[in-house]
Symmetry: C2
Subunit: 318 residues, 2 copies
């Protein structure tokens, strides 16, 4: 473990992914643990038990650590107040909250007033954005449109590497709720994996035939096409996924038309999700560039680590 | 009980409302029972036990009965196949399915291919529409727009008293799902009654400031306005209700612009719901005429009873 330099942790609502990194940011070892919602306030204990094997008994000080995600929320280890947009990467890194005399830092989330005049928030995605800026040089200049699909999908506008604004769509949450609890899908389809199928593609095409229609007026099709015998359970679930993504993508591109002049969206997330958004974007003639979400998280934490190592004495001390 | 003429039953998914009526259709007595989903197939037993006190031991035959709703679905007493739109009231009445040698008739639901090219269905609402046509003479001529708000809101186009087409919005279901299961609303707000408040009206206004936006991009406000301290639990719940109704009404009026030339919508439902839709319609300069949903059901069953009494010997026999 001679090369070990710091610990990078993405501590979200439902999962903790923690990594041991070298000075260049390469991951040497990794582990997982319970999310912030399931940590029952025992963040210090969990952190220590998951990282004990990485700490050297001979070292003058424990390895420094950077953590992002819900660990910095009101239900987290300690609250790291939101940084208001527009926010440069250095501002985000500089607003980290120190724990344990500066050996652990927690990355703050971002806030903005979105295009609809509403307050909006992210926590965890800001670190993925910092990582994407490292992984993709083209994001650092001009206006760029990012999408981070998930439970609460984030659409983000970058301007010369600064996070200008964003808004949130609970696309993944709505899919899960409807699939698990709604009478729109028959009981059997709730267990069916919503695989990329003809029904998913059909939903994209059919939604875009009536782009001005409200999503509310298309959802019942998941049920009616089963009643009519057109769909089985698997198709209905994939169709629901397609309708939701089509609505999300159509609405976001329309709202952000002034940004998307390049007709390229950078997608940050798991491949299973980004591939579906790629298909939804293609319906509008947009290209997608995909960045793996876990890789973006680590790259962002590495970036914050470098900033702290240069600016915070207590963090840099060995 | 000398005046008792027939039994009218609205047997929906979750409730049965059954009434004893005289020849003119006036309700003499009433009772309630479990919905079709909770009847475990024991429709005959439930019907007999709820109506036994209305039957005269001296009568040559039991009182005739007309039932509508999910009792005629595949999970009901017997299946009454859907009548395809356009459908005249007499066609609906003539397509009733007879049970017990014609003493009981079940009203069929309606099917159509809706404006979005999807199959669509209703069961129970067709009877309320028949009732509304009786209760409101103005609906019998020209094009009229109806809305039956509920778990699955139906938007219906009438042409000279015939049901031309309709489509469904699961507005009420989505509200219940989001309020009960979503992280968009804090735990406490799930119990808060979504009363008509400033937040409901605010949601109508704010939604209509960006009518082209997708509902998906506005829902997160229910959470973010709580995080920012702007809303308490009660407000967030009412705001969600307002967003959903605004989306439903805006989308329906846009889709049915060719129908709504009179800028009047007839709302059929419970007063608590129709008053909210009235407010949402007013934002678009539309007037609402409200008809109580239970009264419309009975009036529709009376209308079917009259048709059967004139055309079906076994039903008319005493």
């Amino acid at each position: 473990m001679a090369r070990a330099s710091f610990i990078a942790g993405d501590w979200g609502t439902s999962h903790l992914r923690i990594s041991l990194c070298d000075a260049a940011g390469a991951v040497l070892d990794g582990s997982t643990g319970p999310g912030a919602a399931d940590s029952n306030g025992r963040f210090a204990e969990l952190f220590d038990s998951l990282t004990a094997r990485w700490q050297s008994p001979d070292a003058a000080a424990p390895l420094p650590a950077v953590l992002c995600g819900m660990v910095g929320s009101t239900i987290g280890w300690t609250e790291a107040p939101y940084v208001a947009c527009p926010a440069m990467p250095a501002q985000i890194a500089a607003a980290c909250i120190a724990l344990r005399g500066g050996r652990i830092h927690i990355v703050p989330g971002l806030s903005c007033r979105n295009r609809y005049g509403a307050p909006d928030f992210m926590r965890g995605e800001e670190t993925q954005i910092l990582g994407a800026l490292q992984l993709s040089e083209s994001l650092r200049k001009g206006r760029c449109l990012l999408c981070l699909p998930g439970t609460h999908t984030k659409w983000v506008v970058l301007q010369d590497g600064s996070v200008r604004e964003f808004f949130t769509a609970p696309t993944g949450e709505l899919f899960a709720l409807l699939r698990e609890h709604s009478v729109l899908l028959r009981a059997t389809s709730r267990d069916a994996a919503a695989v990329d199928s003809d029904a998913f593609s059909q939903a994209l095409v059919r939604f875009n035939e009536f782009p001005q229609a409200q999503l509310l007026h298309r959802l019942f099709e998941c049920r009616s096409r089963q009643l009519s015998g057109e769909f089985g359970a698997q198709e209905a679930s994939a169709y629901l996924s397609g309708l939701l993504l089509a609505s999300d993508v159509h609405g976001a591109l329309a709202a952000l038309a002034d940004v998307g002049a390049t007709r390229t969206v950078t997608l940050i997330g798991a491949a299973e999700l980004t591939s579906r958004y790629t298909a939804a974007l293609a319906c509008h003639g947009y290209d997608a560039r995909c960045i793996d979400g876990a890789a973006a998280s680590v790259a962002g934490l590495v970036q914050v680590h470098r900033h702290l190592a240069h600016t915070v004495d207590a963090y840099a001390a060995r």
